[in-house]
């Protein structure tokens, strides 16, 4: 099992309504899972849970067999280095160029200069940003920022890839390109979890689909579709 969530509930302290309620979910190593659901249903909350950006109010989460809720603070970075994440709001470092942003994910795991200098350009070209190495985030279009975030997520070939709305700012063609990259990465054994609204994409890929609504798992379907209108 890559991911195992048992009876997980999350309630943000600023909000009375829980964002996740009694979620049970197991994701195998090497799976490709879409998390779908209306806006505010708890998709991002689930992703943040796996990253241990927040701890659940109740329940238990393990990643690769490791209990991540009772993880010591100083061990959290080591968890995150094995998880590549595409954030819904990109979370790029504003004072670093596209190149440096991607390189940062390698620098934190102590990769040598040489490795960085070969992998970063490769990955940036893969997402179609071959001519934007030196641009700062606020000199990039929305979709370009999103692609930097995607490049950063998989540049260090993590065993688990989380993506929150990775194509929200991308046109269908670019989206399909990104999706085929993610698919390829998945084929090499990486577990991929994608929170998305992109019906077209979900429907065309026919992968496992977990549907959330109001913080509850409503549907968990192998080779599923986005769902009824």
């Amino acid at each position: 099992m890559m991911i195992e969530a048992k009876d997980v509930s999350v309630t943000y302290k600023e909000s009375p309504k829980p964002a996740l309620i009694d979620v049970n979910l197991s994701i195998d190593k090497g799976e490709f899972v879409f998390i779908v659901g209306p806006s505010g249903s708890g998709k991002s909350t689930f992703i943040r849970l796996l990253l241990r950006e927040l701890v659940p109010t109740k329940g238990q989460v393990t990643i690769a067999g490791q209990d991540i809720i009772h993880l010591r603070n100083w061990k959290v970075p080591y968890l995150r280095r094995n998880i590549g994440t595409v954030f819904q709001d990109f979370k790029l470092l504003p004072n670093k160029t596209a190149y440096e942003n991607v390189a940062y994910a390698l620098e934190v795991i102590n990769k040598s200069k040489h490795v960085i200098a070969t992998q970063v350009p490769e990955v940036l070209k893969l997402v179609g940003l071959g001519d934007k190495f030196e641009s700062y985030p606020d000199e990039l279009s929305g979709g370009e920022q999103q692609r930097v975030s995607i490049a950063r997520a998989f540049v260090n070939r993590p065993p688990l890839l989380l993506a929150d709305e990775p194509t929200g700012n991308l046109d269908p063609n670019t989206s399909m390109g990104i999706m085929s990259i993610l698919n390829r990465i998945n084929k090499t054994g990486t577990t991929v979890v994608i929170a998305t609204h992109d019906r077209e994409m979900v429907d065309s890929m026919r992968k496992r689909v977990v549907a959330l609504a109001d913080g509850k798992v409503m549907r968990d379907q192998m080779r599923g579709v986005y769902g009824e209108d």
Binding site: R80, Y104, E107
Partner: protein
């Protein structure tokens, strides 16, 4: 070893980059350190000079022992040996009857009638004692009063008890004021600098959160901030120290030549020590400030 060296270089490069790219904040931090160090440094200068002047004043305190004309040479010599033995005494100057008369005439040269009237030499010989610590005047006077020669040799022991007390009260207060000022300035500087660093890091808290989220360990995040803080502190302190040097070289020199009888000079050893401490303080505050300010954003 190799990887460590790469890391050091990487962190330095990161720190320098960050210093450059967050120019508004770097400038603010450098300026605050500069002003703070300058303030503390110049008040310390001033305090040092005032301290010198006051001890100069205090060292003018002396005890005067008038001798009986009837005392024999041997009595006086044994008395002199005894007072020279007193451990509180720094110098002993013997003033002969002749010298006393010359001094008297000089002092009263406006009153020739008075001087004309003097026949022979009515003035006694005397000893002038200066003390290692002028605050001991009372004690020494007491000891002198209790010497067996008090009756045979000594006519009168004279020291300006009241003036001395006044003087010490004033110099004491001056010292207290400067101590309070310097302490206060140190604390104020600390508060100001940590304030600025906190503000600078506060405005970069989102950046720190992102670093955490992509797997950077706390130390990986901290090092560049730490080095950046050190860089800011160092630059600020160097600028301040250079300005202090200019003040010492030009302003104080000017000052000194205008009032040559006051000991206004700041000796190099004191200056060097001060520079050392100020630089160290600048660096330490920069480093500590950024680490402490960072701490609250390094959770989760």
């Amino acid at each position: 070893m190799y990887t460590v060296r790469i890391r050091v270089y990487y962190f330095l490069a990161e720190a320098y980059d960050s210093f450059r790219r967050n120019w508004v904040m770097s400038f603010a931090a450098v300026m605050v350190v500069f002003i703070s160090v300058l303030l503390v440094g110049s008040i310390t200068f001033l305090g040092h000079i005032v301290g010198k002047i006051t001890s100069d004043l205090e060292n003018k305190v002396e005890i005067k022992i008038f001798l009986k004309d009837s005392a024999t040479k041997e009595q006086v010599q044994s008395f002199e040996a005894k007072i020279k033995e007193l451990k509180e005494v720094k110098t002993v100057v013997y003033i002969t009857k002749d010298q006393a008369l010359v001094d008297f005439k000089e002092r009263h040269k406006n009153q020739p009638e008075l001087i004309e009237q003097i026949s022979g030499n009515p003035l006694p010989a005397s000893y002038e004692l200066s003390l290692k610590n002028p605050r001991d005047a009372n004690k020494v006077a007491g000891k002198l009063e209790n010497l067996p020669e008090r009756k045979t040799v000594v006519e009168k022991i004279n020291y300006a008890r009241e003036t001395i007390q006044k003087l010490f009260k004033v110099t004491g207060w001056i010292r207290v004021i400067f101590l309070v000022l310097i302490t206060f300035l140190c604390f104020a500087s600390l508060a100001l600098i940590s304030n600025t660093i906190r503000l600078a890091i506060y405005s970069r808290r989102k950046e720190v959160a992102v670093m955490r989220l992509v797997g950077a360990s706390n130390w990986f995040i901290r090092w560049p901030f730490l080095l950046e803080g050190i860089l800011q502190g160092l630059i600020g302190a160097i600028l301040a120290v250079l300005l202090l040097l200019a003040i010492k070289a030009f302003v104080l020199a000017q000052f000194q030549s205008s009032v040559p009888w006051l000991p206004i000079d700041i000796n190099s050893s004191f200056y060097n020590l001060l520079v050392f401490w100020l630089m160290l303080a600048g660096i330490a505050i920069g480093a500590a400030g950024s680490t402490i300010a960072l701490r609250r954003y390094l959770t989760t």
